[in-house]
């Protein structure tokens, strides 16, 4: 490829999902390559190439998380946007802790995916910090009520609303309400944003 633009590498074991994402990227005129499994991507991967990885988290053979670990071992800096399915949020949180830039849940809207990809590419180009500054996050978190903070802590660990409700002894509806308040107050646009903030706080250590 003589093209100097970054490439979107799509790894998903489901052919129609791969193909349809491919069609979307083609429509957007973004260079892309698709792979049916993690191994074939690794085999073809050239660390000198720029771009980002759109990676299904749950795949037969090498899973998305395993591929992420292998890339880290190789010191590959390729940013990863994980695609998750039903009930995979805790796995996605784990992936975020290990450095994934984002995750997106199936089924998703085209803009959602394109936004995530663009952000990942900006990260890769060093044009955008992954996280807002710690001070900024702390300031936002401080606006939360104690209950909202509890909900935030749990949701950002990937707990389902139902689990949070049982944990805190409140109804699921109430969790929903708190959760939307948390999203609003922190300016998070997605669950991934919340996870990112939580991870940043945890990295900063206790006392935050």
């Amino acid at each position: 490829m003589t093209d100097n633009r970054p490439t979107i590498f799509v790894v998903d074991d489901d052919e129609p999902v791969r193909d349809s994402i491919g069609m979307l990227l083609e429509t957007e005129d973004m260079p892309y390559e698709t792979f049916p499994d993690a191994q074939s991507f690794l085999d073809a991967y050239d660390p000198s190439r720029r771009g980002c990885l759109v990676l299904d988290i749950r795949m037969p053979g090498m899973s998305g998380l395993e591929l992420q670990a292998r890339l880290r071992e190789m010191n590959a800096t390729l940013p990863i946007v994980f695609i998750t399915g039903h009930g995979d949020v805790p796995m996605a949180v784990e992936a975020m802790k290990r450095g994934a830039v984002d995750f997106i849940r199936k089924p998703f809207r085209d803009e959602e995916l394109l936004d995530r990809i663009n952000e990942a590419l900006q990260v890769e180009a060093g044009q955008r910090a992954v996280a807002t500054s710690l001070a900024e996050i702390r300031a936002k978190i401080e606006t939360l009520t104690p209950r909202e903070r509890e909900v935030f802590d749990r949701v950002a660990q990937g707990q389902a609303n139902k689990v949070v409700a049982i944990d805190l002894g409140i109804s699921e509806r109430t969790v929903e309400i708190h959760r939307s308040q948390v999203m609003h107050k922190t300016g998070a646009r997605s669950l991934a944003d919340l996870v990112r903030m939580k991870i940043a706080l945890e990295r900063a250590g206790p006392g935050s």
């Binding site: 069609m23 429509t27 085209d110 509806r173």
Partner: protein, 480 residues
């Protein structure tokens, strides 16, 4: 004075004078009880029943068998030996002037063995009863007393059939006669589970093992009876537990299955969404290759069929659960079922009331499937009320009645009712108004009821809330 004739006899022998003092002894007696001459012979023994001796010795008829009385002797070694003292009159005078010849028979081994046997019998956990050939009770141990509520003296000497309920009570003599005549063993040496009758009339589940024993040419039967009440209760509890687990297992299998289906169905949905949005973009830009667009739409169509196939698979799964139909009482089924829903109801502060028709006709159905349907309706009702924080009420009622040729079961709630825009979608697979619902419940329920030849539907209640009901046909004469 010595007893020359008996001097070398290995059995201890003594002669007492008319006053009861020992006059002479043989060598064996001297060895056992030295230097006793001149002392009352009673004093040689421990625990001897003097009163009985005097009473019986007074009436003693020397032509009859000698009088035997039991006595214990303390050993030099510290032990005790048991003797039968066989008493014989030596002179033909009045009883109070007779001399007495006493012969000591050592019965220590036999006594200890009997005591041991008795102890075993009395401390046995199982009730043990011995009867003779005529069915008359000879022994009745402590455990038997505990089990049946009778004291041994109330039972010994009476027919064992007093411990049995009818019809065995009146047939027991016949059973025994038949065995004596034919030797055909129905219970002897085999053992079986039966019911016994307590003094109070209560029936006790038991395990009875009968053995035949021959002692001294007499035939007797021992019955060892184990109280099975606890085992039976445990067994029943286990069966009930299993039954419940079968429900829960089946329901959770369906839950797990729907979760994995949810995962799976997201694949075609993702692809459909991507194809559709890409195609839309191309069209909006007005710059596209019709062949390419057609190909995308073709793929989109394929994916929607794939999603349909996944739904089909769930429906099949619901159906594939092997259906076992029996003639059942729906009222009973509903009452059992509510045990499963009660916990849920309590947590959400919902009260369940029953309005079950008397003499409800039985219907042919698969108990588990129908309970699954009813449970689904009950859970939906609870959800409907709790979703609006019980603001319209917290009462759920379960009604059963016969209408024409079918039986109807209805579950009414005080929730928000079904919104007009939901009516059409209600039974569509994957349609749900619940945040974490799969949208499969009612769809599967309707399939199950339809396969039973019934109908599942709903109506909004005039005073708010919804009633979901299903019908099942009443089997008609001539039906299989």
């Amino acid at each position: 004075m010595k007893l020359p004739e008996t001097y070398t006899l290995p059995l201890p022998v003594f002669v007492a004078d008319a006053g009861g003092c020992i006059e002479s002894v043989n060598a064996a007696f001297e060895a056992l009880l030295p230097r006793r001459e001149g002392t009352p012979w009673f004093d040689a023994f421990i625990d001897i029943d003097r009163e009985r001796f005097h009473r019986e010795w007074g009436e003693f008829d020397r032509r009859a068998a000698p009088l035997t009385i039991k006595g214990k002797v303390a050993n030099t070694g510290g032990g005790v030996r048991y003797f039968d003292v066989v008493c014989q009159a030596l002179d033909d005078e009045q009883p109070d002037r007779q001399r007495l010849l006493g012969i000591l028979l050592d019965v220590t081994e036999k006594t200890l063995r009997e005591a041991e046997n008795l102890a075993i019998l009395e401390t046995a956990v199982d009730a043990i009863i011995m009867i003779d050939e005529g069915g008359i009770v000879e022994t009745f141990n402590r455990a038997a007393t505990e089990l049946f509520g009778y004291e041994p003296e109330e039972v010994i000497g009476k027919s064992v059939n007093m411990l049995m309920p009818e019809p065995h009570r009146s047939r027991h003599d016949q059973y025994m006669r038949r065995y004596m005549e034919t030797g055909e063993k129905r219970i002897i040496g085999i053992g079986r589970e039966l019911h016994a009758q307590h003094r109070s009339g209560r029936l006790i589940p038991i395990y009875l093992a009968v053995n035949e024993i021959h002692v001294h040419g007499r035939r007797r039967f021992t019955g060892v009876i184990r109280d099975m009440s606890e085992q039976q209760a445990t067994r029943e509890a286990l069966a009930e537990q299993r039954e419940r687990l079968a429900h829960v297992g089946r329901l959770s299998t369906m839950g797990e299955m729907t979760a994995s289906i949810a995962h799976e169905i997201n694949q075609p949905l993702t692809a459909i969404s991507m194809y559709a949005q890409s195609s839309l973009k191309l069209i909006q830009r007005g710059d596209y290759d019709p062949a390419k667009l057609a190909a995308a739409l073709e793929k989109l169509n394929t994916q929607s069929l794939r999603a349909g196939a996944i739904i089909e698979r769930i429906q099949r799964f619901a159906r594939a659960q092997e259906s076992k139909r029996e003639l059942l009482d729906l009222n009973l089924l509903l009452k059992e079922l509510v045990k499963l829903a009660e916990g849920d109801a309590r947590i959400h502060d919902v009260t369940i009331t029953f309005d079950l028709a008397d003499n409800l006709p039985m219907v042919y159905c698969d108990a588990i499937q129908i309970q699954q349907v009813a449970l689904n309706l009950i859970r939906n009702a609870i959800d409907a009320m709790k979703d609006i924080n019980l603001e319209r009420g917290n009462a759920m009622s379960i009604l059963s009645r016969a209408i024409g040729d079918h039986v109807e079961v209805a579950v009414s709630d005080q929730g928000p009712g079904v919104a007009p825009d939901q009516v059409k979608l209600l039974f569509k697979p994957f349609h749900t108004t619940k945040k974490d619902g799969m949208g499969m419940g009612l769809s599967i329920c309707r399939t199950i009821i339809a396969e039973h030849g019934g109908e599942l539907s709903f109506r909004n209640n005039p005073d708010g809330g919804a009633t979901f009901y299903f019908t099942l046909p009443i089997p008609q004469a001539g039906d299989d």
